[in-house]
Point group: C2
């Protein structure tokens, strides 16, 4: 062993001991005839000191990030540093051994580095030395460990499912893997172990989980990764509330053991319809109120053609917003007109401190009308009502986005506050005009609500659109962290589902034949949930971006900049796989 102690370990009680430490040179300072080294390892920083001339000389040859081994005696410090746990002591240097020199790193290894994102990605192994990233990965380890302990205590078995499976293109694109031993054929990397975990229920495993990598070949948006980690779970002989109870227990345990936060009340549950109507989102941030209020019937028929011609008009009341200047309101108007939000315009209604009203539609409405609108939106004196109009879903969504923006501007989205929520009763199906067919809102194995089987077997599109799924999402602070459902365990209902989704029996059989088959041999009622582990970790740390919570992430082009992957492969490899490239710019 190269050390007797770590750099985070020594305390005043160790004074007088001779110790050997090893680590990286964080910084070196000279003061008069003395040299100080801040020696860093994963566990902390210890100050090394010498006034010996020869040693001073050796220390002066060190550079930042040199790996060194030091032997010396622990001593109480004159001027203590209360910011670090070893701040009461220092080690008086007796022997210095350079284990490995280091080039000057291309950016500073500090909590806030001077390196740009690209540079830090290329030298990820140096970026990972920085404290915020180390804390992130420590949190991730702790979360995974707590999840496993809780689920083990609840009789869940972790069962590994294969990564080389069959391509069933429904939803996102699969990554595929050519098989050399089966020429012309491909494996697919799993988008999730959905089918395997359901088969494990058919196999009687009763309670399964896995912290597992999943793969999706999507066009990457910010903060999406082609490979991501899921906490994947499934249970047998359960109904929805059984699943929610077990996983609410998991989440509360994580809050308690990782963050020291107690949640004594049950998490609120909100139907999807309410989430859309009141928050304009299927993942409401309920840390603050500022709900959406529909005022369609209130404002129609006043000769304001914009309102008269649309399906839906709704507003939110921004507390204290009456103080917003005209310029600020104009800026908000521009904000809602951005393509990401897509509103045509913004109507405002200011409730002045004296109770009078000022709005951008004053000429169409009497003060009494305006008062009624303000009341409908719950606005008080000093508030500002912001109103959008258009198609219902689109406008609700835009209002929801505006609500979040106002929440940000007003500091209502405090990352140290946690507001967990279950969203339930999602629609089962989504109609796609382009392809002229229904898609499963979750996936084709999600059960319809048992009381809506009649509509599920109806031939009318309107009936099918009404069917709710026995599904649920776990939402934390406006981010969807988990989602799941009770599954179809009845072979007939599963066949009907494939029919509704427009699969021919042959198609369904080709893609999911083994599933349909399996369900004929005694499938128990079952359901489950999957959590996005990367996001869960980031949110627990009060962060929104996941990249810091992944040791070696890909960039927005799906590249590992450090490895320079993906890359060309040898022609020999291509030949062995019976593949040739049709890539036009393949030189």
């Amino acid at each position: 062993m190269y050390r007797t102690n770590t750099c985070g370990e020594l305390r005043l009680t160790d004074a007088g001991k001779q110790v050997t430490l090893a680590g990286w040179v964080q910084r070196i300072r000279k003061m008069g005839g003395m040299s100080f080294i801040d020696l860093r390892d994963r566990y902390g920083i210890t100050q090394i000191v010498t006034e010996n001339e020869t040693l001073n000389e050796s220390v002066s040859k060190l550079g930042r990030e040199y790996v060194i081994q030091v032997t010396g005696t622990v001593k109480e410090r004159q001027s203590k540093n209360s910011k670090i746990e070893t701040g009461d002591i220092e080690v008086v240097l007796e022997k210095l051994n350079v284990l490995n020199p280091a080039e000057v790193p291309p950016f500073t290894i500090e909590d806030v580095s001077d390196g740009g994102e690209e540079l830090r990605a290329k030298y990820r192994y140096l970026d990972l030395r920085r404290n915020p990233l180390k804390k992130a990965l420590e949190l991730r380890h702790r979360m995974a460990h707590e999840i496993r302990n809780y689920l083990d205590s609840q009789n869940f078995m972790e069962i590994e499912t294969p990564y080389l499976i069959k391509s069933t293109p429904e939803g996102a694109r699969d990554f595929v893997v050519p098989s050399r031993m089966n020429p012309g054929q491909f494996y697919a990397l799993p988008q999730s172990p959905q089918q395997q975990k359901q088969l494990l229920m058919v196999a009687g495993y009763d309670r399964y989980f896995q912290i597992v990598r999943c793969f999706r070949d999507e066009d990457l948006r910010a903060d999406r990764q082609p490979e991501f980690t899921q906490v994947d779970c499934e249970m047998s002989f359960v109904e929805r509330d059984d699943v929610l109870e077990v996983f609410e227990g998991l989440i509360k345990t994580l809050f308690r053991n990782v963050l020291g936060k107690e949640f004594n009340e049950p998490f609120p549950r909100m139907p999807y319809s309410e989430a859309m109507d009141s928050y304009g989102s299927d993942k409401p941030d309920i840390r603050y109120d500022m709900r959406l209020h529909e005022i369609t019937s209130l404002v129609k028929g006043h000769d304001f053609s914009v309102f008269d011609s649309v399906e839906y008009i709704g507003g939110i009341s921004v507390s204290g917003g009456a103080a917003y200047t005209r310029k600020q309101v104009d800026e908000l108007t521009e904000w809602v007109k951005r393509p990401q939000i897509g509103a045509k315009g913004l109507v405002y209604l200011r409730v002045n401190d004296d109770g009078s009203f000022k709005s951008s539609v004053d000429k169409f409405y009497t003060p009494e009308d305006l008062k009624a609108i303000a009341q409908a939106c719950g606005a008080q004196k000093g508030d500002l009502v912001l109103i959008l109009a258009g198609g219902k879903k689109k406008t609700q969504t835009a209002l929801g986005a505006l609500r979040l923006e106002m929440g940000n501007r007003l500091g209502l989205r405090d990352s140290s506050v946690y507001a967990p929520l279950w969203v339930v009763d999602f629609p089962l199906l989504e109609w796609d005009d382009e392809t002229g067919r229904f898609y499963a809102m979750h996936h084709p194995f999600t059960a319809p609500k048992p009381e809506q089987l009649k509509e599920f077997y109806s031939d009318r599109k309107e009936d099918l659109e009404k069917v709710n799924a026995n599904a649920y999402d776990f939402v934390l602070n406006g981010t969807e962290v988990g989602g799941g459902s009770i599954r179809i365990h009845d072979a007939e209902i599963q066949k009907r589902m494939f029919e509704v989704l427009g699969f021919t029996p042959e198609d369904a059989d080709y893609r999911f034949g083994f599933m349909i088959n399996a369900f004929q041999y005694g499938a128990p009622p079952h359901g489950g949930i999957a959590f996005c582990f990367d996001r869960f970790c980031a949110l627990f740390a009060g962060q929104e971006t996941i990249r810091d919570y992944i040791a070696f992430p890909k960039n927005n082009q799906g590249r590992d900049v450090m490895l320079d992957a993906p890359s060309r492969i040898d022609q020999v490899q291509m030949d062995e796989l019976f593949l040739s490239s049709t890539c036009p710019n393949n030189d």
Copy 2:
């Protein structure tokens, strides 16, 4: 919830309670006016009984593997079944609810099934219902959980490394993944996270582990899988013995907590050279002795041309083997001549009970010569010495195989006995005549023994062949379960290693540039180990084949028979990936 209790839970103390159970119909029996159902779930089997006529009628309509829900009252059994934990009670049926009917399964769901391997693979979800497979996966879950708890307690962090990395073809073939977003380029699936874990040490993570999937596109032999699971570990600021100590602690903890076996003594350590000389294997089964003895100098020069012409002659002494008939010895001779063993022939020397000798080479050797040979091989009266001759390594290996075979025949390889062993001091390099270059016996990052650096920098092949690696294998009962090494942390030594392996600087840079680079920014001394988790689990259960310890394994052609994967993919997918198939039989 569909049940109040599981099928493994009820005891005599529950008598009188009304309960609801759910599970699968294991079997139904009729006796007079009574029906009995053995109801099975993951947790056990509970007997359900009724003498009610209506219920009898319902029960008679059930079939094997139907999923049912029963409500009834717990009652003490008349005739108890001590073989199952619920054997003291039965549940008197009050209500029966069929949750899902089942087709008759294609094979019996019993400890020993009547289904062939192929059929059971296709219906893996039914095979997984059988008790031996359930026990196997339960053991695997328990092992993984204990490993994580131990390593967490030792300050190891589990850090997930990417599955989509860069192809660095050295050793086995990579599975590759075409990148749609980077046309003409491919990711590779990792053969192990070797480079990532070393970079984590460079990044200062100090103690890393991961239970991680690895991929190798090899021509599959029996009991090899294209994807397999590794317990992958790495530590910084350590020397060999530090690593062995930590992981010996892990293994002892597993023995204690999973199997209830205590190992109070340190595991033996054996140099590779001794393993080869004494056991003819780099992974000796030391549950029994029967060592190899070299008798080359003893037997040469007696005009027996077979012996005089070879490099090495060695023998093993089979205790009690003098009783072997001529026919049995002939059969052994055939056995060693099989291509897998490859010996030219077998010489035997029988030590009769009266102390006289009988051998197949009597005419070349006097009784005194034979006595000396017997003594050299440690043979006693009643023993049989089996002798092979030829090139040294090949003959030692053949003798090692014969030793295992004799161990099997004599019942010396008791699967309930565990003989752990560290094998150390492996050669660093292996010369390959075909390509005329050295290959790394472990991998290119394995450090040479520090005291042999002079030979490592020598230009002479003979010197390089002498260099030992600072490497170690963990061997259990003749199977290599783990292996690792102290790594090269010095950029210069790493460059020399690439040079010895015949990589041009450009080649080394293309493949491992980021590693060479990383090592210039302060790499700590480090080393690690990886365990084959599939095999570890199988061995802990006293089994040699790993397939039962993997929920959804591939067959010998690398196929998932249940999913029917790999399979063709759509032309659309091919086009998106800029790929075309050159497969001749691609219809």
